[in-house]
Structures are given as structure tokens and as C-alpha cells.
């Protein structure tokens, strides 16, 4: 044990009673704010993705005065929009034995037993309401011919509980939440601040009472006060530079909150998604995901023999011409029970293992095949039967199969072809793992409050529900659960104390100090007199993180990474060049501030990874693995949340431990074999 670790000084406030009754009991007992009093209470919501839009809309519907902020030109653009595959809900429409308990259990197990039971159970409980709510809003989920909602399967589960809208589920859900938010903006109950960036949280007498924001068009620094502040600002995957996150996705709001006293929990838990389009060259600015739903029908393989790998790389052998017997469907081989639908962390590591063994199928050796030929054949044969075709030709069967695959995944195939110029109906896709999601985030209690009173975190910005690995189609579920069905209940319990407080003033030392800090930082960046563009530093940070704190990690690399990041940060402040002025739209300035924060957070991620001497979920420590290369968890030593308190230097943060108590599930070695 490191002597820096302290037992957790903050109460997670998990309600008493049996697991299945906790949330109901809690809802029945939290304090309420009556409708008249809600009108005198202000709430700030930062971020308008699934969690932020749904929270802002719901809180405004309830009667609170809401100010919502986003850095985009419109609240409809947050990166939730890019989520492709679907959203889980324990509806059991397919009658395959699904239940609230099974969704709870799958999520706990999928998270490798590193999440809080009560939070996860609540998530499973409200999941069904999300689908009802979204359908009422007019979200056009996929339906079958009887007009009923359709489902598909996702990794790590043995039921079909994923609702979807082609490969654009995130878009449809976000537009649903955006429409609810727009309704409240139209009614004047939400004041919307587009193209605004949160620069700092203002803490007055120990409570979060507002934010400093920058108008990204005019550069004006603004003070906004409220009785509570809700951060729905997403994850920190862009610490790696290359990820499936949007270019603007950033961790600055969460990092500012951390610097103001919010603990940062489990920062090393990063999800590397197995199916992304591989890096093509040095100018690559981001990576594109190919939805996990493709693993329902796509089979992942590499050649068995090195000579075939070489032939495919140099173009003398087409992958479609390689005989079945010479292919290694390595997921089906290693994990027969789940096959291609193992959880993301397992699938990613298995791809890395094959590529490290030299079997990668593109020029850089960092790609595996995702093949739809069997699915096209299977669907085609079924459809031929459905249509009563007698002795259909191979071509006819193929054409029918292509038609069905197109109906399911058409937009994904089109996207793949646009990016790679390969036709995935004709030749297998090439894929490789990429940074996709971050399970860690601001520590929150059962009420989603951080360690700063009045400062809440929801969606990907908090750490709460996914443990060390998130299952597919659970991010959309969590974002909307937090925003629609959790925050609206729990926030009243805190705000009930504020009904007599009156408007919070934006004068006073705390606002002065925060504003002065923001201005000084902007001045320093703009007048640095350096020569190197911001992106250079971001790319270097990304390389350190990917190589030393990526899919597999070890103590030596992590220690090196901390030193390298510190050196990079010094160089940044000596030599970064930020052109332009502070009083105009200046994307380079926005980027510089975000990258400066990533360079601090990256250091904390490495520190957390170094201190967690076990392998679990997305955190794979090479020192801790079984003989056949599977992750070796240490439940005696590490069944806790590592929650970090900022002290000035990121890697000198103090760790607090929240012990994870499992009363309802038995901790087992995760096996998908």
C-alpha cells in the first residue's frame, strides 16, 4: 500500500435496503422543491450531449431556471450524435430471458467488477423508461414488419436488448433530447449559450455557485451564477490525440472541476474500441469507428500463415481468395461461447495480440479483417426461402444477402467506402482498435454530486456506471438515464436548502479570482512568443499515451510516460505559438487551452495506471496476466475506486479509495470462453 492512499473521506450516499428497492426508496425520501420555489432557483448545465440536453430539458420542464452551454454553434452537434450502434434497455421484447437484473449483472460483469452496484442497478431499472420516453418524442427506432420495435445484440451479453436506428442511434436520440431542449428554449425556460466554452468553475464558500465562460465569437469573458452546476462535458479520449472522439471533444471542464476540488476517479480506465478504421498516414486527424453492431454479422480473422499475410500486404493475394482452412477466426477460436461478440476490451487485446505476432493485414501491420461474406450468404439464403425462389443461383443469393446487409448497416458500409475507397460488400473491411470512450471521470456519489457540493457530473463525464470496461450500447443508456431520470430527482435534495438563498451574485472574491485566472492564462498563451503549433504538442502527447498508457501497460513505461509528459508540458509553455487575438473567433486559442489540460490529465492517467497493480477491463498491466494472456484481476487489493485529489502537480495527486462492496453478485474471473 502506498502511504499516499487514504480511506475514502466522502460518503457515496448509497441508500440502505435491498438492491432492487434502493432507487424507489430513495426517490420516495429525497427532499422536493415545490414548484413556486423552483422558479427562484438557477441551474447551469455545461454540455449538450445526451446527458446535458436531457438534463437541461428535464430540469426546465420541472420549473428550474436553466442556463445551458455548449461550444458548438448549436446544441445538436455534441459527439453523442456520432454513436452508431444502439441503446440497451431491459425490455425483454424478444422474450430471451432479459430482465433488469440481467442488465445489471451484465453491466457489472462487463465492467470487470469495478463499478458501484447501486448505481448500475438504478441504470438498469430506468433503462426501459428511456425507450418509452424517446418513442414518445418521435425517435424513429428500427421496427419489424409488425410495427414493433426491433432489437440487435451487442458484445458481452447473451440477449438481444439493443434498440437502434440504423447506424445512427446516437444521432436520433440526441435529436430527440435536442428537440426537448429546443422546446424549453422556445418557451424561455432554458437560456442557451452556443459557442461558449466553460473556462472555470466558481466555488463560493465551499459550494459550486457558477462558472466563468468565454464567448468563442467575441472572446468576451462572462460570469454566470447558479445554485448548482451540472457538468455533462463528456470524456477525455482525445488525450490520445487520435481517437474516435470529435475534434473538439475535450476534458477541460472536468479538469477545471478537478483543480477546484472535485476528485477524479479511475482516470486510467480507457476503452479501446476493437473495430475502427486503421490509421492511414501521419496527417490523420481522427479515427472513425465502425459500429460494434457489425460484430453481429461480421467475422474477424487474420491469415493463419505468414506467407499469406505477406501476399495480402503486397497485393498478390486477395483476401477473398484465401481458403477457409487458411484463415484464423481468432475470436471464435479463443472464445467459443461469445465468439465475435466478446466485450470490447477482450476483442481489442486479441487483435493486438495477432498483430504483435506479425499477422496484421495492412502495410503497417496494424489491421485485421472484419468479413461479411458469411452473413451475406446466410441472409441471402434465408431471404430466397422467404421469397419462395427455387434453386436460386449463387449470384441471386448474394444479391439478396447484400440487400439485407445494406438495410442493416448501409450507412456504415458507405462511410467505410468513403474513407478507404474499398467496397466492403466485395472485400472484407480492415479494422484496428482505437481509443473510443473513457470509463473514468469525475467521482460522484449516488446523487451524481462530485466532491464539491453543488457540482454535479453526468454522462461520460462521471465515472459511475461502467467500471473498468463499458459494454456496447450502454453509453447512450447512461447519458439519458442520468439526464432524464436521475438528476431531476436527486438535484432537488440539494437545492431544497437553497429556496431562501435568492439570486447568487457574480460579484465577490471567488468570481474575481476565477475570472482573473482565466484572463491571465489566455494572455500567457497568446503572448508566448513561441514557434510550434499546438497540434505538435497534442500529437506528441498522443504518442506517449498510446505507446505507454494504451492497450497494454507496464510500470517502466508508465514511469517514463510521466516524466515525458512533464517535459512536454514545459516545452509547451516555452514554445507554443498561438496566433490571433483574444477578442475574436480564434480556434487555435481554444485548442491551446484544451491541449494544456490534456497534458495534465494524461499525467494523472499514467499515475493511476501505475498505481493499479492488476489488470481489469480496459486497464491491462503486462505484469498481471494469466498464462494464456488473459487479464488477471486482484480483488483483494484493488476492488476499489481510485479517486484522486488535486494537489498542484497532476501525478502528485492524493489517492482516496472507495471500497466497492458487492452484496449481490459474486466476483468471478470474467470468462467469455
Amino acid at each position: 500500500m502506498n502511504d499516499q492512499k487514504r480511506p475514502y473521506g466522502f460518503d457515496a450516499k448509497v441508500p440502505d435496503g435491498p438492491l432492487a428497492d434502493k432507487w424507489t426508496h430513495h426517490k420516495n425520501n429525497v427532499r422536493l422543491v415545490n414548484p413556486a420555489n423552483k422558479r427562484s432557483i438557477d441551474v447551469i448545465v455545461v454540455g449538450t450531449g445526451l446527458a446535458g440536453s436531457s438534463a437541461a430539458a428535464s430540469l426546465a420542464e420541472m420549473g428550474y431556471n436553466v442556463k445551458a452551454f455548449c461550444f458548438h454553434d448549436s446544441p445538436r452537434r455534441a459527439h453523442s450524435i456520432a454513436a452508431q450502434g444502439g441503446i440497451n434497455a431491459a425490455k425483454n421484447y424478444q422474450n430471451d430471458g432479459d430482465s433488469t437484473h440481467r442488465l445489471f449483472y451484465d453491466t457489472i460483469k462487463g465492467g470487470d467488477y469495478r463499478s458501484r452496484e447501486a448505481n448500475v442497478h438504478r441504470l438498469a431499472e430506468v433503462s426501459a423508461s428511456i425507450i418509452d420516453q424517446c418513442v414518445m418524442q418521435g425517435v424513429p427506432f428500427a421496427r419489424d414488419y409488425g410495427g414493433m420495435l426491433d432489437n440487435r445484440s451487442f458484445g458481452g451479453v447473451q440477449v438481444s436488448r439493443t434498440f437502434y436506428a440504423k447506424g445512427q442511434t446516437g444521432q436520433q436520440l440526441l435529436l430527440g433530447a435536442y428537440s426537448a431542449l429546443s422546446r424549453q428554449i422556445g418557451q424561455g425556460k432554458v437560456e442557451m449559450f452556443n459557442r461558449h466554452e466553460m473556462m472555470d468553475v466558481v466555488v463560493v464558500d465551499g459550494k459550486a455557485r457558477g462558472i466563468i465562460a468565454r464567448d468563442l465569437i467575441t472572446g468576451e469573458i462572462e460570469r454566470h451564477s447558479a445554485h448548482a452546476v451540472v457538468l455533462c462535458t463528456g470524456g477525455y479520449g482525445n488525450t490520445f490525440f487520435l481517437s474516435t472522439n470529435a475534434m473538439g471533444s475535450n476534458a477541460s471542464a472536468a479538469w477545471k472541476a478537478h483543480r477546484r476540488g472535485s476528485h477524479f476517479a479511475n482516470p486510467c480506465y480507457t476503452q479501446i474500441h476493437p473495430t475502427c478504421i486503421p490509421v492511414s498516414d501521419d496527417s490523420q486527424s481522427k479515427l472513425t469507428l465502425m459500429s460494434e453492431s457489425l460484430r453481429n454479422d461480421g467475422r474477424i480473422w487474420v491469415p493463419k500463415h505468414m506467407k499469406d499475410v505477406e501476399a495480402i500486404r503486397n497485393g498478390s493475394l486477395k483476401p477473398t481468395d484465401l481458403k477457409e482452412a487458411d484463415r484464423d477466426y481468432y475470436l471464435e477460436r479463443r472464445y467459443p461461447a461469445f465468439g465475435n461478440l466478446v466485450p470490447r476490451d477482450v476483442a481489442s487485446r486479441a487483435a493486438k495480440e495477432r498483430c504483435d505476432a506479425g499477422m496484421g493485414v495492412n502495410k503497417s501491420g496494424q489491421a485485421v479483417f472484419l468479413d461479411f461474406a458469411s452473413a451475406i450468404q446466410r441472409y441471402g439464403a434465408t431471404e430466397a426461402n422467404v421469397r419462395g425462389l427455387e434453386n436460386p443461383s449463387t449470384e441471386e443469393v448474394r444479391a439478396l444477402g447484400v440487400e439485407l446487409v445494406e438495410a442493416k448497416y448501409g450507412n456504415l458500409f458507405q462511410m467505410y467506402q468513403q474513407i478507404t475507397a474499398d467496397n466492403p460488400y466485395e472485400t472484407p473491411m480492415k479494422i484496428y482498435p482505437a481509443v473510443h470512450y473513457t470509463m473514468g471521470g469525475l467521482w460522484v456519489d449516488y446523487n451524481l454530486m462530485t466532491t464539491v457540493p453543488g457540482l454535479y457530473a453526468a454522462g461520460e463525464a462521471n465515472f459511475s456506471d461502467h467500471g473498468a470496461n463499458r459494454l456496447g450500447a450502454s453509453a447512450l443508456m447512461q447519458g439519458l438515464a442520468d439526464g432524464y431520470f436521475v438528476l431531476p430527482y436527486v438535484i432537488g435534495d440539494y437545492l431544497a436548502d437553497d429556496i431562501r438563498t435568492g439570486k447568487i451574485s457574480t460579484d465577490g472574491a471567488a468570481f474575481d479570482e476565477a475570472e482573473a485566472g482565466v484572463k491571465a492564462r489566455i494572455d500567457a498563451l497568446l503572448n508566448n512568443g513561441g514557434t510550434t503549433p499546438v497540434d505538435d504538442f497534442h500529437k506528441q502527447l498522443g504518442q506517449i499515451m498510446w505507446n505507454k498508457c494504451g492497450m497494454s501497460r507496464n510500470a517502466i513505461h508508465l514511469k517514463e510516460a510521466i516524466t515525458e509528459i512533464q517535459a512536454l508540458r514545459s516545452r509547451f509553455y516555452e514554445d507554443v505559438r498561438v496566433p490571433g487575438r483574444a477578442d475574436q473567433l480564434n480556434p487555435e486559442l481554444d485548442k491551446a487551452g484544451r491541449v494544456a489540460d490534456f497534458m495534465e490529465l494524461g499525467e494523472l492517467m499514467c499515475k493511476d495506471a501505475l498505481e493499479r497493480n492488476e489488470s481489469c477491463g480496459g486497464h491491462f498491466r503486462e505484469e498481471h496476466q494469466s498464462e494464456d494472456g488473459e487479464a488477471a484481476r486482484d480483488d483483494q487489493g484493488y476492488a476499489h475506486v481510485s479517486s484522486w485529489e488535486y494537489t498542484g502537480v497532476p501525478s502528485e495527486a492524493v489517492m482516496h479509495q472507495e471500497e466497492l462492496v458487492f452484496e449481490n453478485v459474486e466476483l468471478k474471473t470474467r470468462s467469455y470462453k
Binding site: 436531457s54 428535464s58 420542464e61 458548438h72 454553434d73 448549436s74 445538436r76 452537434r77 455534441a78 459527439h79 456520432a82 425490455k91 423508461s129 418509452d132 420516453q133 424517446c134 418513442v135 414518445m136 418524442q137 418521435g138 425517435v139 424513429p140 427506432f141 428500427a142 421496427r143 419489424d144 414488419y145 410495427g147 414493433m148 436506428a165 445512427q168 444521432q171 436520433q172 435529436l175 428537440s179 429546443s182 422546446r183 428554449i185 422556445g186 470529435a246 475534434m247 498516414d281 490523420q284 486527424s285 481522427k286 472513425t288 458507405q414 468513403q418 474513407i419 432524464y484 431520470f485 514557434t531 503549433p533 497540434d535 505559438r577 496566433p579 475574436q584 473567433l585 480564434n586 487555435e588
Partner: protein
């Protein structure tokens, strides 16, 4: 590959703006158009100039943020493609490429290639929703079956990414395709029925107020729409709008 980029530069809303030519060299055909602009901006910053401001975010064709008018076409030469999904293999080595912002009275330029599209948000705020509160106690999602063709067509309308290419491409700077996509999506679903006519009326009124032009059925919007949204939705909106007007008079 080497290119000459002819790019609109405008320092701020009040600046007159001008086209400026920049050479870019060593571009790979696998680069996306925006990655090529990244290369240009990197050169500009290193040489002490100001980079070209442009809107972009997801770079996978779904957020609707990117918005470049390339060689006289919204999102460039390819169909069903946003600017971020356009790759340099679609251009010829040595070509001169002209890049301008969306041009429309309702989309004032903020800087360089960045325009203000909040008018589209205000149109949605005027009625582009179903008035249902969050409470967790709505009816079960399967209580109301929706015929697959209606659900599918609603989805196709709902796929609109709100980029504004339809407006930028229209000679009248009309937003009919954008507005119709939302009106039509909700008109096709049972949940949208109670407010159907009122919605069409309010959204059209807001669209007019924002200064978008009228529709003269040239169909250019449908051609340039990266999501392939059909003109049929405009017809459906027009029917609902007329129906609303007639219903009010009688």
C-alpha cells in the same frame, strides 16, 4: 499531390472579405479535405500567419458542423458526402480548388469559412418537437405499433444533420428541405399528430422570419443534401401548411 487553394478570408463580421490563394504541396490522396486544410493551417501558423477558421467537429459526417462551399458546390463534388468525408482522391493533382463559406442572408459570416446557423435552431424551437415531458411513465414503447414503412420514412427525414447545405445551395437560400424534414418526420408518426398542423404553421412562420428565401422547386437542395433527404418531404409540409391555413379559416 499539389493544389492551389482559393479561400475566402474575412477577419470578422464587419470585414468585407476577399479570396486569397494558397499553395499546398505533398498532399496524399488518402487525406480528407479537412486534413488538407489542417496542413494549410499548420503552414500558416508556422509562418506567422493566421490560420483559416472553419467549422468542423466529428469528422465522420454526422454532426453537421462542417460547411464548405467547394468549387461552387455545397460539400464539394461528391454526392451524399459531407466536407469532412470528402477525400483528396476526388481531386486532380495540380487543381485549383475554390473554398467559400455558406452564402445566405440568414447565415451571416462570423469569420473566414465560419457562418452563424442559429436561425435553424430557432426554427426547431418554434415547433420541431413533440410536447411530451420527461417523467418515465409514458406508455410502453410497443403499445403503439408503427407500420415499418412509416417508421422508415420518418427515419429518413430525421437523418437530417442540420448542416445547411440545402440553404447554401439554393439560389433563393431557402430552408424548405431542412424545415420539411422535421415537419415530415413528426407528421409520419402517431406521436406527432396532435400538434401536426400547428407545427407546420409555426415552423414555416419562423423560417420566413429568419430571412430564408422561398422555394421554387429547383430541387438543388435534394441533390446537394449529404443525407439524401427527399423533396417529397417538402410536398408533405406544404400539404400540412395549406391544411392548417384552410382549417383556421373554416
Amino acid at each position: 499531390m499539389d493544389f492551389t487553394l482559393n479561400i475566402w478570408r474575412q477577419d470578422g463580421p464587419q470585414d468585407a472579405g476577399r479570396m486569397v490563394a494558397y499553395p499546398v504541396t505533398g498532399i496524399s490522396d488518402e487525406m480528407s479535405f479537412l486534413e488538407m486544410i489542417d496542413v494549410l493551417n499548420d503552414q500558416l501558423v508556422r509562418s506567422g500567419d493566421e490560420p483559416v477558421a472553419f467549422d468542423h467537429d466529428c469528422r465522420e459526417g454526422i454532426c453537421g458542423m462542417c460547411s464548405m462551399f467547394i468549387n461552387g458546390e455545397a460539400h464539394g463534388p461528391n454526392r451524399l458526402t459531407t466536407t469532412c468525408q470528402l477525400h483528396m482522391r476526388s481531386f486532380k493533382d495540380g487543381e485549383t480548388i475554390t473554398v467559400e463559406p455558406w452564402r445566405a442572408a440568414a447565415f451571416p459570416v462570423i469569420r473566414d469559412l465560419v457562418v452563424d446557423r442559429t436561425a435553424m435552431d430557432r426554427v426547431i424551437q418554434s415547433g420541431g418537437y413533440v410536447s411530451v415531458n420527461t417523467n418515465g411513465n409514458t406508455v410502453d414503447a410497443n403499445a403503439l405499433p408503427i407500420p415499418k414503412p412509416a417508421a422508415d420514412e420518418a427515419f429518413e427525414a430525421a437523418a437530417c444533420i442540420g448542416c445547411g447545405a440545402c440553404v447554401a445551395t439554393c439560389k433563393n437560400a431557402s430552408a424548405m428541405l431542412f424545415v420539411a424534414a422535421k415537419v415530415s418526420q413528426l407528421a409520419l408518426l402517431p406521436q406527432g399528430q396532435p400538434e401536426r398542423l400547428d407545427r407546420a404553421e409555426r415552423m414555416v412562420a419562423q423560417m420566413d422570419e429568419e430571412g430564408f428565401g422561398n422555394c421554387t422547386n429547383t430541387g438543388a437542395c435534394e441533390v446537394e443534401c449529404p443525407m439524401g433527404i427527399s423533396l417529397d418531404h417538402i410536398a408533405r409540409m406544404n400539404r400540412d401548411f395549406l391544411h392548417a391555413k384552410v382549417a383556421k379559416k373554416s
